[in-house]
């Protein structure tokens, strides 16, 4: 059974058709990237997968069940870290568990157990304002991962970071994924990020968005900084870029 299966999904807001006949499948342990031009409906797709919204047509299935907030199968990490300044880092990372009804003590214990792995040990009692941008994103990912939900949905998780920190974080995430093999759907507009991290890159067209290309990334695992200079990396990047440009070229008069 696929972790995530999007079948013929369309979504309209009044007259505005945002998604049309979208098909996408992600298998357990797969790292999938969804890339598209801005305004292509990435966030709409995202709301459907996280269960915050329902499709107009078609189905979104997570582990065979219709996506919904109640099913608790998707954990989402937004672009903004959304760490609350009034909570310590530990309390922030335990927030997701608390919100879903786990006791405060137990939530803290489970979050704390991951701190070393996420390179945050020693910062449990710090406030988010005392962390660097990269650390804040790691804490936000920890808050997402600790929920142990079958699908991780990452929405441009490093989009707000400076370029150097972003590269650091992408390499770090590649390493983390190698060890944990989460099922990930990464929504991004960064081609390099998609190619470095994903097994499959799904390319969206502009509105109404549909998948126009599915690019398998031929790079071996584990991946690291060396892959940036691999000829396969460059050619995959090129293929994704062409797919993206092809979609825009059709629509520009």
């Amino acid at each position: 059974m696929s972790s995530l299966r999007i079948e013929g999904v369309g979504k309209s807001f009044g007259q505005l058709e945002v998604l049309r006949d979208l098909e996408l499948a992600v298998e357990p342990g797969e790292f999938a990237a969804v890339i598209g031009p801005s305004g292509s409906g990435k966030s709409t797709l995202f709301n459907l997968v996280s269960g915050l919204d329902r499709p107009t047509t078609g189905r979104v299935l997570v582990e065979g069940e219709p996506a919904g907030v109640e099913s608790g199968k998707v954990a989402y990490m937004p672009q903004k870290d959304l760490l609350f300044p009034w909570r310590t880092v530990l309390d922030n990372t335990a927030l997701g568990l608390e919100a879903q009804g786990v006791g405060k003590k137990e939530a803290r214990r489970r979050a704390d157990a991951l701190f070393a792995d996420f390179g945050l040990d020693g910062f449990q009692k710090a406030y988010p304002s005392q962390l660097s941008g990269g650390m804040r994103q790691r804490a936000a990912l920890l808050r997402t991962v600790v929920l142990e939900r079958p699908v991780l949905l990452l929405d441009e998780p490093f989009g707000a970071l400076d370029s150097l920190t972003r590269t650091e974080m992408q390499l770090w995430l590649a390493g983390m994924w190698q060890r944990h093999r989460w099922t990930v759907v990464l929504v991004t507009h960064d081609i390099r990020e998609a190619v470095l991290l994903a097994d499959t890159v799904h390319v969206l067209s502009p509105r109404p968005a549909t998948i126009v290309d599915r690019v398998e990334v031929p790079l071996a695992r584990p991946r690291g900084a060396d892959d940036f200079t691999d000829p396969d990396f460059a050619s995959t990047e090129r293929r994704v870029l062409d797919a993206l440009r092809g979609t825009t070229a059709v629509r520009t008069p």
């Binding site: 269960g51 907030v69 919100a99």
Partner: protein, 257 residues
């Protein structure tokens, strides 16, 4: 402690200059103390009548604190109601704004007619003068919660009450304290004013009595006590804020380093 001293000395300097000028003028021009007493005389007479002043301060302080407590409770109740129900927001908020145009001068004597000379009408005047800034700021604070944060919590399956407790209340705190500081400065004045309209004890009635007795110096002494009370309450909001929002200090230390 040092930043507090640093922010205290400029107003103290200005105050000293003003009081010094006042003292000089009154002494040099030989102004009749029933018209304008010198600051030194105010302090001296105030000290001599300290027992009297203290006895009158207590009822005023009591009215202020009880009235403010009532205002505090009402403000939270109304702000929460406005936040949870858009119908209440549409129906109530304009009326709350409009209620601010009602002159307390007109209402205070009516309250005395309705509720007598006791504690309740004074509490109500304090509540009426302080309620709005508190409720309005609190409601604005709730409404200013990051929408993304709300979405995140909803996606985690958190219900309305949980998101309110976990996000909306803490994010409203800075707004709440801004409102608290505005309204607490009105509170003492509100109580004194209510006493002016009719009371058996308190600084307001004391001022009135001393004015009628041409003891201008004691009127000023009572005014000074009123001001000191207001400033003390104002200062207390900062202490409270430090206790309730320890994270703000971490934020400030981080910015200054």
């Amino acid at each position: 402690m040092r930043p507090i001293l640093r922010s205290l000395w400029p107003p103290l300097l200005v105050l000293t200059v003003v009081l010094g000028g006042w003292q000089l003028y009154v002494t040099a021009a030989g102004v009749d103390p029933t018209t304008l007493p010198s600051p030194a005389r105010v302090v001296e007479q105030g000290w001599l009548n300290r027992q009297d002043l203290w006895d009158q301060t207590l009822p005023t302080l009591q009215e202020t604190l009880l009235g403010f407590a009532l205002s505090f409770a009402a403000a939270w109740l109304v702000a929460v109601l406005l936040d949870f129900s858009s119908a209440a927001r549409r129906g109530l908020y304009p009326l709350l704004v409009a209620s601010q145009t009602i002159p307390i001068v007109a209402v205070a004597p009516l309250l005395i007619i309705w509720f007598g000379f006791g504690l309740l009408p004074k509490m109500l005047v304090v509540t009426l003068t302080t309620f709005f800034p508190l409720a309005a700021n609190l409601a604005a604070g709730f409404a200013a919660t990051d929408r993304e944060a709300m979405r995140l919590l909803r996606s985690l399956g958190a219900g309305r009450w949980w998101t309110f407790r976990l996000v909306r209340v803490p994010s409203a705190m800075p707004y709440f304290f801004a409102g608290l500081r505005v309204s607490i400065t009105y509170a003492v004045v509100g109580a004194v004013f209510a006493e002016y309209a009719g009371a058996e004890a308190g600084l307001g009635i004391y001022m009135q009595a001393q004015k009628s007795a041409f003891r201008t110096d004691l009127v000023f002494a009572a005014v000074a006590v009123t001001a000191a009370l207001s400033i003390a309450l104002f200062g207390a909001t900062y202490l409270l804020q430090r206790l309730v929002l320890p994270w703000e200090r971490a934020l400030k230390e981080d910015r200054s380093s």
